[in-house]
């Protein structure tokens, strides 16, 4: 969770954390060489853990402590112990439930089409292809674009009066939409930004996994008379299941944290998420509580609520994954 660079999204690069779990037990058989049994190990990991501990681990735990206090931004060190009051307030706050609902709908609108399209795209990219480097690189372009840049451009495209999308709608005889004003329309627009940025990236992750599916599986399927579509359904998808599960988890975590897109979507950087909070997400709410309303304790509570949501989602996915792989055996 190292702060800046690590949107968990990025962790996806590490994607299926393959050898993770078995790691401790899989260390090479103990050999008594001076090199591999080495207290210098600590010296090597020390720089990482010093920075990591000071700027990630300690703040992470301290956030829980802050969430039990009434602390304002102007009085950062002093705070009054209030126990679970912030949590009670949060659960009774309609702003929280509104933001939670918005986060959920935007998350679904952004994640489901994104991953489906990425899967299809990976399938296409897996054909023998001329200019395949070109296609792969171009599809990763959006990923290289920053949230701020992407959001500003899309806000322009979705503009009510002169936005290109409305111009197009009008040209084909449909009605203009005030994208930012509506609940569904604004959420769809934000989901489009997220989808645009991440589809190509996820496609590459799937493509990498597809390429390590042994060709024999397809041969066997073909002998059995499976059509191309059936092969995709019964060979490709099952082989990709761990990767798919992982992208679902990571995209969902990303969606729970959604912040930059709703902050900049109206173009003016307000934290309310639209005139009636129609696209205020949990991430944005937390920022508003802490840095607009200066209520740091309440913001910390929201942060922990987000973490709990993520834990539940990750847990559910792990359980489903385990059940399914057991069913396969």
């Amino acid at each position: 969770m190292t702060i800046a660079s690590q949107t968990p999204r990025e962790a996806l690069i590490a994607a299926p954390p393959a050898a993770t779990a078995p790691a401790p037990d899989r260390t090479p058989p103990k050999r008594r060489t001076t090199l591999t049994r080495n207290r210098w190990g600590y010296a090597y990991v020390a720089p990482f853990f010093l920075v990591f501990g000071a700027f990630s681990l300690y703040p992470f735990i301290y956030t829980a402590w802050v969430s039990l206090h009434r602390t304002s931004l102007s009085n950062i060190d002093g705070g009054t112990w209030v126990g679970l009051e912030n949590y009670r307030n949060l659960l009774q706050s309609e702003f929280f439930w509104n933001a939670a609902r918005n986060t959920l709908t935007i998350g679904i609108l952004a994640t489901v089409p994104q991953l489906c399209m990425a899967l299809g795209l990976a399938h296409l990219l897996n054909y023998k292809l001329r200019g395949r480097t070109f296609f792969r690189t171009v599809m990763l372009m959006p990923y290289a674009t920053s949230i701020a840049a992407a959001t500003l451009v899309f806000a322009q495209l979705f503009g009510r009066d002169y936005g290109l999308i409305n111009t197009f709608l009008e040209a084909v005889g449909l009605e203009r939409i005030d994208w930012e004003a509506g609940t569904l329309s604004s959420q769809v627009a934000i989901a489009v930004i997220v989808t645009w940025r991440w589809t190509g990236y996820n496609a590459l992750i799937y493509l990498a996994a597809m390429q390590s599916i042994p060709g024999e599986l397809y041969e066997a399927a073909e002998i059995d008379g499976a059509s191309r579509w059936k092969q995709f359904l019964h060979v490709t998808i099952p082989s990709l299941r761990p990767t798919i599960l992982f992208t679902i988890v990571v995209s969902t975590i990303g969606a729970v944290q959604l912040f930059g897109e709703p902050l900049l979507f109206a173009g003016n950087g307000t934290t309310s998420g639209g005139s009636s909070g129609q696209y205020q997400t949990l991430g944005l709410l937390m920022y508003q509580q802490g840095w607009s309303n200066f209520h740091i304790g309440q913001a910390a509570t929201t942060a922990w609520a987000m973490f709990m949501i993520i834990l539940v989602i990750v847990g559910l996915n792990a359980v489903i994954g385990r059940l399914r792989s057991r069913a396969d055996r």
């Binding site: 401790p24 591999t36 703040p59 942060a303």
Partner: protein, 300 residues
């Protein structure tokens, strides 16, 4: 959190791709791409690139031209005038310099520290190693939001608000990077090589410098590119720690959008300025970045 490793654990069954190109050919025994495939891919490519192209188009017209009933589709002459206005309204030049500094420092630190730690986790035995590694991996999934508040208190105490080190220091290491380097070094670095170095009487640090680093170089390059890209695009923490007085590119762009009279053409020109450096890098190194992501996906 260890459960997180679960989905991936199963991937161990999937052998890493050694030569993606060859395998690609084999996997695509599904056949050669037909016209439908090319059409769909071309459409996707267009959708991927159009918003970036539109930034150029919109940034090179006046507002009035943008508002015309038939919007323009080709770049125009007002680009440099809009650049000038954008630079006037937001310190984008300074922001680019800041972003280069910040991203550069983060990249150097991340690559160095993660290689060190990744090597130790891959090849050295020490007490508590498993626990420490689990800690690294577990926290990879904890959202940034969860540490931002104490972090802000910390930098406020240190009077670092609006200082670049406030953005650099917390990001100087990455759990992902440690894991990435570990995965690479486990298979890429033969123990015999290390033992040979030891037999020759090299110190542990000497071994790191002259044996580990050369072997790790390809992975270090990949990690460097990905780290730089991510650091350049990082939004959430910089916008809390910095202001538009001393911004990174992302903070400056956010400020540009929140001007009193939003002038779309100027905003777009500024967006273009802020995006150009990374697009240039991406055009040059795109192939390697693609390879790095795919490699990380399978090996990770």
């Amino acid at each position: 959190m260890a459960t997180l490793a679960l989905p991936g654990t199963e991937t161990t069954a999937v052998t890493p791709v050694d030569r993606p190109e060859r395998r690609g050919g084999k996997g695509s025994k599904a056949g050669k791409a037909g016209p439908v495939t090319y059409t769909l891919l071309t459409l996707t490519a267009l959708v991927s690139i159009f918003p970036l192209y539109w930034t150029l188009v919109a940034g090179s017209h006046t507002n009035a031209e943008l508002a015309a009933s038939t919007p323009p589709f080709l770049p125009n002459a007002s680009l440099f005038e809009n650049f000038r206005l954008a630079l006037e309204q937001a310190p984008i030049g300074k922001a680019i310099l800041n972003s280069i500094l910040v991203s550069g420092a983060i990249t150097v630190g991340t690559v160095l520290f993660c290689t060190l730690a990744g090597f130790a986790f891959a090849k050295l035995q020490f007490r508590g190693k498993g626990l420490l590694l689990a800690l690294v991996i577990g926290t990879m999934m904890v959202p940034t939001q969860l540490s931002v508040i104490p972090l802000f208190m910390m930098i406020a105490d240190l009077q670092w608000v609006n200082q670049l080190q406030a953005v650099i220091l917390p990001t100087l290491v990455s759990a992902f990077g440690v894991f990435f380097m570990r995965q690479f070094l486990i298979s890429a670095l033969p123990n015999e090589l290390l033992e040979a170095g030891r037999v020759d009487g090299a110190s542990t640090f000497r071994i790191f410098w002259s044996i580990v680093v050369p072997v790790a170089r390809p992975a270090m390059a990949v990690l460097a590119m990905l780290t730089f890209l991510t650091a350049w695009n990082e939004f959430f923490w910089p916008i809390i720690a910095l202001t538009t007085a001393n911004p990174t590119v992302q903070v400056a762009l956010a400020g540009l959008g929140s001007g009193y009279v939003p002038q779309q053409s100027v905003i777009m020109a500024g967006t273009l300025l802020g995006t150009l450096p990374v697009l240039i890098v991406f055009t040059i190194l795109g192939k390697q970045i693609v390879g790095g992501i795919m490699q990380g996906a399978v090996k990770g």
